[in-house]
Symmetry: C2
Subunit: 797 residues, 2 copies
């Protein structure tokens, strides 16, 4: 047992030792206790984040120091950050696109040239280039940045939901993601670069906000205003939006994606900044593309960057078409849900069996997938007969067959002049071009149903198998490929069925793409806007909306969205927006369980701190003190991470078991820089094993008052868990104290108590000043006089 | 003094009488005390709303009764509601547009015909038709539905922020808004129909959700699931989005408008439904227009419904253009802020001086404004010289002069053949057509700078004067008019300055429109999407974004947004999204002020209830009780409105001062229908004057336990007001109890305590079931066994 001396030699506080449940590490599960650090089987860990601004004495002191100038400065820095995030993400996107387009361009032009002489030589070169690119990608990922594998969206979603997966926002992850994406996308695998770009945006944002590196011993003082998890979260939100805006050239879609898909909270001030970031991305990407148009960037310029302009397509739609469109929605929901289910099972198997055997297995796996992909995409079109070109239509401006090395429809592959291979048009092509071909208008009957079906089955299987290999991989482009294929199939039937109507197959391909993404990712508004922005056609907005609604509803009947499934698989415990049904019948007390609470007294012995921290893995501890009348009071919450900082720095140790008194010397907190208490992003922070204390140190005391959060959010014990959940999630909390019912009410706060006028805004006040308002101002304006004094000095007897 | 018998004859609770500040009514101010009912000078009142679901015993009992079938039924009804809101709002929009276009069409064709013979006869007919339309509008509004005046957006914004302005969502308001809009817009005033359409959508939503009318004695049982303010708020949100979607044919813009501008909270489940409503609106409006295209709807069909297609315009933009575009942003910010300031002062003057003189003054005012508008719009073009038509360009398809009775550019007014009047083209035209002309591409030098400047000054003045007359009035279309005029002016200078570039004046007009709306309304994302959707051109998205950002930033330097200014003027106390700076140094206790709390004991005498309700205007009262050990405990919060229902129904009166015991008879709450406790929307609910009690009744008792909210949100007394504000606003609260610091902590809730698996979802659990998760489920799953028992029976000794 520990003995704790309380101030003034009052009675020893009885520390209630917690009967902790097993705090061991479980594979993919959630460790009991707090999420102080959960190791997973692959060595990665996740940690809860606290988005509440901890208003301890240090924070208040820092705030007090900040004048108007500082506030203006901080606003300027925040906007500058948004600007830099936008520029950085846009440049990364341009670099990736430029590289991918050039690699793919060289690959296809070499192959086409060789095919004229020998199929086998062509196949060999094609396969080897793909293999080399994929190999470089998987090598970078496995050797250098394991966190760069996959799309990264589930992890970013987790981060913004309040769960930090270690290593997800580091510089090495950024580098691995950029170069890995180039390899995996350039290597022709059935994956896209859009998910990784979102991750890249988030990494850039996080690094800019950090503006220092513990590893590389870099520090800038001027950016230390981003000291709370909340500021960092805001930056990462901007980064996400920038990523989507850059990936799809869809600025509004980016804002909405950040809003709908990744964040669990929202502030309208932030929207304003996210919006700015997206606009900057739009301008920078456009400028870069305009610069490249003159041919300075090799193959990049004419192709690349997914904008599938279908504005030349169908002008209008009629009522009869609503039924086939609904059918597309249903197919999308079914295939999307199936995709989620299959990828979940395969990814589960990979994590638990295959990838446990080490990096070599991951490399071999990626290479095998690459070989299979090359074989199928080169081999299948060979079995397909050539189709004679349709009669030339001068107005459409579409050449058949297209000239070698150019982008466009009607790839002739091995066919003779005036012929083309419809399977090669979609299979033996970059994915961006394939989608452009599928979406293309005025090309009725370009594809045969047989080719489309073959492609659908093969590509769907490839996408499922590729998902989860150790390379950066997005699911947007494969999803659009799959969806537009069956969409075009349905479109072909509709064209045959309603021969009188002016129907374009490309429109149905667009709706198919929307339906598959809706059925798999379950986004609505953001996906809809993204689809509209990439297809550059507003006419079908209501149709896209309806198709999305149907496919999401069908998909929801089977399983969760792709990102939620993957987050669960990776042990990222997301809090959903809706509380569970059974929470209605539970109370806060029941939810907090049998676990007993570990208290700290206000002044605590160092040895006791150490042994409490060692003996459990809680992350926050209530601190109690005694009032003048001897009554016990909860005076705040102290975080494990802050205690570790205090133990490591040792400057706050004192010999006396009496609480700190300002007459004794300088205020303790002034010995610290506020940033010391902030955990570096995505790192593990200080561990208890890093702390080395002498026996003398152990006998000293710490007064915790300056370092604790004096007013954590509390809920009464019998509050319904639904309400607790809402509170917890909406405010982005990490801890919530469950307290007994109050014995009295000190006051009631209603709306009028929160309406305080800004005094700067004198003109408007003048008009409004009624007696009540003035009275209210008089009553409320006195600022806390003791703002410079420790908050809880009143407790010192 | 009142004496209160507590249960078991325990000691009398000391009721602390509040020293209430003056609860009198102040003109436009905020009454002290709670917002139980604030009368304003014009006789309207506002009231706070509580969006927290009050989980009293009645609610829990209702929940317990609801099985799976009921849940499914409620989901179906909610979606059905969304569908009906969409259809209803779309039909209202079509009706308004159809009427306006026809009235305006007849008006202009008659006038044009008469002009050929006599200017004066033409002017007379024009003026009289305008006057008649405006008169009908102002008559409907003043006599029938005073709440229909203005745009309604500030009130709807207030409603969704938690403030109910009485009468704002009634049937008569809906009717007045629809017919009033037709008159005011058809009468050619400088106002639009878009704001009113948002209000109309909200009214339709609210009425559908209510599905009963106390006034007309209608009741439907099947829709009584919308029993909480929160459900109704969700419906109104859908209605808002539907209104914008219908007004601008901008479904995504509607969703974003509801999200950004009007709601202060957001749930992603709701987004899904809002999205559906918008999509339905899009489909219905499109269908109606397709039906009208064949000429079945008179003048409606070719014109009407603002979609200003500028897709034929400028293809690209160059860097040199960014400077003039930024200039447009700055002008927009300045003119927008000036507009807000002028309208605020004029509206203030109107409310406090002019409109106090009764309805006759309002009618005369509107008529005078109508006469001035007619005079200016007919007279000014007469002073303008005719311009010869430009050389015909066969490709552009634009006729000069346009044929009489048609829509288009180059109005010839009084000019001869091959000539047109540029001022008449924008002034003597419906506003939709004028905007179409200003946005039009391939019409360089159509307008002279002199005409545009004249129009800008005159129309700006008209818009300022018209704003605030007693007719339904939106500010979107006037804003677009003003903005596109100076935008086109800037465009003309740019065309002259950069003669080499391919620049369209219409593009600058579009940017100008965006900048003025941004400078006045201060929306960003939603406005941007609306502008893109109405101009049907995605290419200028980043430019619109940047212009909006600049104009909003410039405007923010001067004053608040238009809706916030107007809400303030109307005494609607909106809680802004950002807490005020000085709140950082205040605590919850300071905010709740000196006002002392009025408690109720658990079992209270009827006469005491009555006298407490009479003696103050608080809206919620804490209820206290004594535990077994004699300690006082706060057991919940009872609302004034619920107490009034209890007093009126009398069924819960009991003779004994002992608390209710289930052995004595039926559970009290089962004598009530849950809907009895819900205040009908936008009505004043039961007043204390409606209650008539006999002397016998007064001597009886009520046990409050079944009717109180057992777990209102609480904050500790020294929590920073910033945190309190966030909590209050994010959760949409009406009351927050300030309690003393807790003496102990019962438990801590962290993320893991809130992760409860759904048991239905067996397949995924199977994969995930680690020992911990199972263990957690075991521990947490026991539902409250006494769910059928009153919650606080444990307190009965």
């Amino acid at each position: 047992m520990l003995s704790n001396h309380l101030q003034n030699g009052m009675e020893t506080a009885k520390l209630i030792w917690s009967r902790l449940p097993n705090s061991e590490v479980e594979a993919d599960g959630i460790a009991a206790g707090d999420f102080s650090r959960i190791k997973k089987d692959d060595g990665s860990t996740v940690e809860s984040l606290d988005y509440e601004v901890i208003e301890n004495y240090a924070y208040r002191q820092e705030q007090a120091k900040r004048g108007k100038v500082y506030m203006a400065y901080s606003v300027v820095v925040k906007w500058l950050m948004a600007l830099l995030i936008g520029i950085g993400t846009a440049l990364a996107a341009v670099f990736i696109n430029l590289s991918v387009e050039n690699f793919a361009g060289w690959k296809y032009s070499w192959t086409f040239n060789l095919i004229q002489k020998s199929y086998f030589a062509g196949f060999l070169v094609y396969t080897l280039i793909n293999l080399a690119l994929v190999l470089s990608s998987v090598y970078i990922v496995t050797q250098f940045s394991p966190e760069a594998a996959g799309s990264g969206i589930p992890e970013i979603k987790g981060y913004l939901n309040g769960i930090d997966t270690h290593g997800i926002l580091l510089f090495r992850t950024l580098v691995g993601k950029i170069f890995g994406s180039i390899g995996s996308v350039g290597g022709g695998l059935a994956l896209g670069k859009e998910g990784p770009l979102v991750h890249i945006g988030a990494c850039i944002a996080s690094m800019l906000g950090q503006a220092r590196s513990t590893k590389y011993h870099l520090r800038t003082r001027w950016l230390q205003i981003f000291t709370s998890e909340r500021d960092r979260r805001d930056l990462v939100t901007c980064g996400c939006a920038a990523g989507v805006a850059a990936a799809f050239r869809a600025p509004v879609g980016g804002v909405l994606f950040a809003l709908e898909e990744v964040t669990s909270w929202w502030r309208s001030q932030l929207m304003w900044r996210v919006f700015f970031t997206s606009a900057i991305v739009g301008v920078v990407v456009r400028t870069a593309m305009a610069w490249c148009k003159s041919g300075k960037c090799g193959h990049f310029g004419s192709g690349g960057f997914i904008i599938w302009d279908i504005s030349g397509g169908q002008e209008d739609y009629s009522f009869q078409e609503l039924l086939p469109m609904a059918v597309i929605g249903v197919i999308g929901g079914l295939l999307g849900a199936l995709f989620n289910q299959l990828t979940f099972h395969i990814a589960y198997w990979r994590r638990n069996y295959l990838h446990k055997r080490g990096n070599r297995v991951k490399v071999i796996e990626a290479c095998i997938v690459s070989l299979i992909t090359s074989l199928i995409s080169f081999g299948l079109p060979l079995f397909r007969k050539c189709t004679p070109c349709p009669e030339a239509d001068a107005n459409s401006g579409i050449e058949c067959p297209r000239r070698p090395g150019m982008y466009g429809n009607y790839v002739n592959f091995y066919c003779s002049d005036k012929e083309y291979n419809d399977l090669a048009t979609i299979f033996f092509n970059t994915q961006d071009d394939a989608i452009r071909n599928l979406f293309s208008a005025k090309t009725i009957h370009e594809f045969s149903a047989q080719s489309l079906l073959t492609f659908l089955v093969m590509f769907y299987s490839l996408a499922v198998v590729t998902f989860g290999t150790a390379v950066p991989a997005g699911q947007f482009v494969p999803g659009i490929m799959i969806g537009s294929t069956y969409g075009r199939l349905v479109g072909m039937f509709v064209v045959n069925f309603y021969q009188k109507l002016n129907i374009e197959e490309g429109t149905y391909a667009l709706l198919g793409a929307a339906s598959f993404l809706g059925g798999s990712m379950r986004m609505t508004v953001s996906l809809c806007v993204i689809m509209v922005e990439i297809s550059n056609n507003l006419k079908f907005l209501p149709l896209i909306m309806l198709v999305l609604l149907i496919s999401k509803a069908v998909g929801d009947a089977f399983n969760e969205g792709l990102y939620e499934e993957q987050a669960r698989l990776r042990g990222i415990p997301l809090l959903e927006s809706r509380p569970k049904y059974q929470m209605r019948n539970m109370t806060a007390k029941e939810a907090s369980g049998n676990q007993q609470v570990v208290y700290f007294p206000r002044v605590v012995k160092v040895v006791d701190v150490l042994s409490i921290l060692r003996s459990n893995n809680h992350n926050g501890f209530p601190v109690i003190d005694h009032s003048r009348s001897g009554e016990t009071l909860v005076i705040g919450l102290i975080l494990r991470s802050h205690l570790l900082v205090l133990l490591q720095s040792k400057v706050d140790f004192q010999h006396s078991p009496l609480p700190f008194n300002s007459r004794d010397g300088p205020v303790p907190i002034s010995r610290h820089n506020l940033t010391e208490f902030v955990k570096p992003v995505s790192s593990k922070g200080i561990s208890i094993d890093d702390i080395h204390l002498t026996p003398d140190d152990l006998e000293m005391y710490i007064d915790l008052v300056p370092f604790l959060n004096p007013s954590p959010y509390v809920v009464p014990e019998d509050m319904s868990l639904t309400k607790v959940y809402t509170l917890f999630r909406q405010l982005g909390l990490r801890h919530l104290l469950v307290v007994p019912r109050a014995s009295r009410v000190i006051g009631m706060i209603s709306r009028k108590d929160l309406l305080i006028e800004d005094h700067e805004d004198t003109t408007t006040i003048e008009l409004q000043s009624t007696s009540v308002r003035d009275h209210q101002n008089d009553r409320r304006m006195p600022r806390r006089k003791d703002a410079e004094q420790p908050l809880l000095d009143g407790l010192i007897v």
